[in-house]
């Protein structure tokens, strides 16, 4: 049988009925003729083309991700480019004054960057320890019944849309903050709590994975040496899961810095530089949401500039995680 289109191969059912080679081996079978040894087929051109084109189709699909990143750079970057050209990248990044609607508009986003960082770090400080603690709980401490409650809780928290978090923050937490501070309750304090709850599921899930991937034998060895559970966790497991936990925290940071809706609902519409933790503030993300509806001209361009900066920041986070994973991996 020579090479042919694989679509036209004869059904094998009838092979035995096809004439047998005259030179059958000595031990003749009881029933029916023995199939003749055929020559090997070579890969037909049609098959080769088909397999190759399928592979290329999938490659194109995979490349859509790359295309997406490039398109974002292109479309957001081009829009924002004008402001960099006008004001200068350095001035844009380090200028302290964000007054796009003043007589002589100022486009410095340093204060916005600082606010974003403060909001993120605060949320992280509250949320990360809780998240890692929960991860340790799920991986090491929980009874099966407790696990059956806590794990779904974490997964559920992960699925709640950020507007709902914002709603909660706005209508439930803010009044509490208002009690404390006597003001309206918008401000860092509320934002920190909201962000902490938001990054909790991400950091907890990834940290839990990191802890679970530690081989059981390591725990047994530690217990066998007379260590308590806590000592094992603190001295053996957490260090072993360090890379994974750091990854989780960086991922949480990335999410927090990019979070818009929840923050805008509790940060208030405001002065750029707040006067305290219970005063409204403006971040890289909230400024876009708040200003965009009425921005025009340079102001609008500046907002696109902020967007591209945000994009670069998030890519920097991704690169950092990859570097840490690669570097940390080599160490162990």
């Amino acid at each position: 049988m020579s090479a042919g289109d694989d679509m036209e191969r004869r059904p094998r059912v009838t092979l035995r009925e096809a004439g047998a080679d005259a030179r059958t081996p000595s031990s003749a079978a009881a029933s029916g003729p023995v199939p003749e040894p055929a020559t090997l087929s070579t890969i037909s051109r049609a098959t080769y083309l088909k397999e190759a084109s399928l592979k290329n189709l999938f490659l194109v699909c995979a490349f859509v991700a790359v295309a997406g990143v490039l398109l974002i750079f292109l479309f957001v970057g081009i829009r924002g480019w004008e402001i960099f050209a006008k004001v200068g990248v350095w001035q844009f990044l380090s200028g302290l004054q964000w007054q796009p609607t003043a007589e002589t508009p100022q486009f410095g986003i340093l204060a916005l960057i600082v606010n974003s960082v403060i909001a993120t770090l605060g949320g992280l400080a509250l949320g990360a320890p809780l998240a890692v603690g929960t991860a340790v709980f799920l991986s090491e401490v929980a009874t099966p019944r407790a696990r059956a409650i806590v794990r779904p809780a974490v997964e559920l928290l992960a699925g709640i849309p950020s507007v709902v978090y914002g709603l909660f923050g706005l209508l439930a937490l803010r009044p509490i903050a208002a009690e404390f501070s006597g003001g309206l309750g918008f401000g860092y304090a509320t934002a920190w709590v909201v962000l902490a709850i938001m990054i909790l599921p991400t950091v907890a899930a990834i940290s839990e994975d990191a802890l679970r991937s530690i081989p059981e034998g390591i725990r047994e060895a530690s217990y066998a040496m007379g260590a308590t559970k806590w000592q094992t966790i603190w001295r053996v497991l957490l260090p072993a899961a360090k890379i994974g936990i750091i990854d989780a925290i960086i991922l949480g940071m990335g999410r927090a810095i990019g979070e818009t809706m929840a923050v805008v609902m509790v940060a208030g519409n405001a002065k750029v530089i707040p006067e305290g933790i219970f005063k409204p503030f403006l971040t890289l993300t909230t400024v876009i949401v708040i200003d965009m509806p009425y921005a025009s001209g340079d102001h609008r361009t500046a907002l696109f500039g902020v967007a591209i900066i945000l994009f670069l920041i998030s890519m920097a986070f991704v690169a950092t995680i990859r570097l840490i994973s690669r570097f940390g991996g080599e160490q162990s």
Partner: protein, 283 residues
């Protein structure tokens, strides 16, 4: 006889530390509980059939929220229809055909970057490319395309993991029968991985339905029940945000938020059910 001090210290620290860990877990559950409780208590009164099926009217958006429900479902389904084939085939490439190298690393870095894009940046991107650049205006299609880019890396990752979870020996069984690569992938691997792939799709759908920043800049804020992909609309999350922030109609905000949470819950529970059922069938 008293145990030596070191041992007592050790046990005390252990007890305290474990207690702290329990508190962490309980706090997490408390967060979820208080959030859900708050939304449910305030929103459940709103969930009448009138609320769900009628249109809002008047300055204060009294009445129902039906157009937002239709907008949400329309744009979510459309987005999933666009992104699923691309993401699944991309995952097939990474899991089955790709060879480790610069190309694969570039693709993965791009996917990770795409996954970490702040949704507001994605929203502006959608506005720049689809709404203005391609002239689609505020429409369900713009929204769906922007959401697709958001969902792409998520679905790529879950699908790739699902494919990799199919045991090597099953594939070898197929190759050993004279199957080509594509035959093995399409007839054995993908069907075997489909429960997990489906789970990933459902979770992504939940995410897409809850998106605000992306949709607000691509689909707009007009109250409208979209029929054609070029129709605009206001999705439920957008509605919640506008109602809450402008203080117009807090009751509607609660009701919409509750409905949204119930939707996401439904997606999540279905996903879990599929995983559990699949595990049982595997014997």
């Amino acid at each position: 006889m008293n145990a030596p001090r070191a041992v007592v210290d050790k046990r005390l620290t252990n007890a305290l530390a474990l207690g702290a860990i329990w508190i962490c877990a309980l706090t997490t559950v408390a967060f979820l509980g208080s959030l859900l409780l708050y939304i449910v208590v305030n929103g459940v009164r709103e969930l009448t059939p009138a609320f769900i099926f009628t249109w809002p009217h008047g300055v204060n958006m009294e009445g129902g929220i039906w157009p937002t429900i239709q907008s949400t479902m329309y744009v979510t389904v459309l987005a999933m229809a666009i992104v699923t084939p691309v993401a699944v085939l991309a995952a097939v490439y990474l899991a089955e055909y790709a060879v480790q190298g610069r190309l694969v690393r570039t693709i993965r870095f791009a996917a990770d970057s795409l996954a970490s894009v702040p949704s507001i940046v994605m929203g502006l991107f959608g506005m720049a490319l689809f709404v203005e650049g391609m002239g689609l205006q505020f429409s369900a299609l713009s929204g769906a395309l922007a959401l697709s880019f958001l969902m792409l890396p998520i679905i790529m990752r879950t699908t790739e993991e699902a494919i990799r979870a199919v045991p090597k020996y099953i594939r070898w069984g197929s190759y050993g029968l004279g199957a080509s690569k594509w035959q093995t992938v399409s007839r054995i691997v993908l069907p075997a991985a489909s429960p997990r792939i489906l789970t990933g799709l459902l979770l992504a759908m939940g995410r897409a339905a809850g998106e605000t920043a992306v949709v607000i800049y691509t689909m707009g804020t007009m109250i409208y029940a979209p029929v054609s992909p070029l129709d605009p609309g206001r999705t439920m999350p957008v509605h919640v945000m506008l109602m809450a922030m402008e203080g117009i109609n807090l009751k509607a905000a609660y009701g919409t938020a509750l409905l949204l949470v119930l939707m996401v819950l439904a997606f999540n529970l279905t996903a879990r059910y599929i995983v559990r059922r699949n595990r049982r069938m595997q014997g």
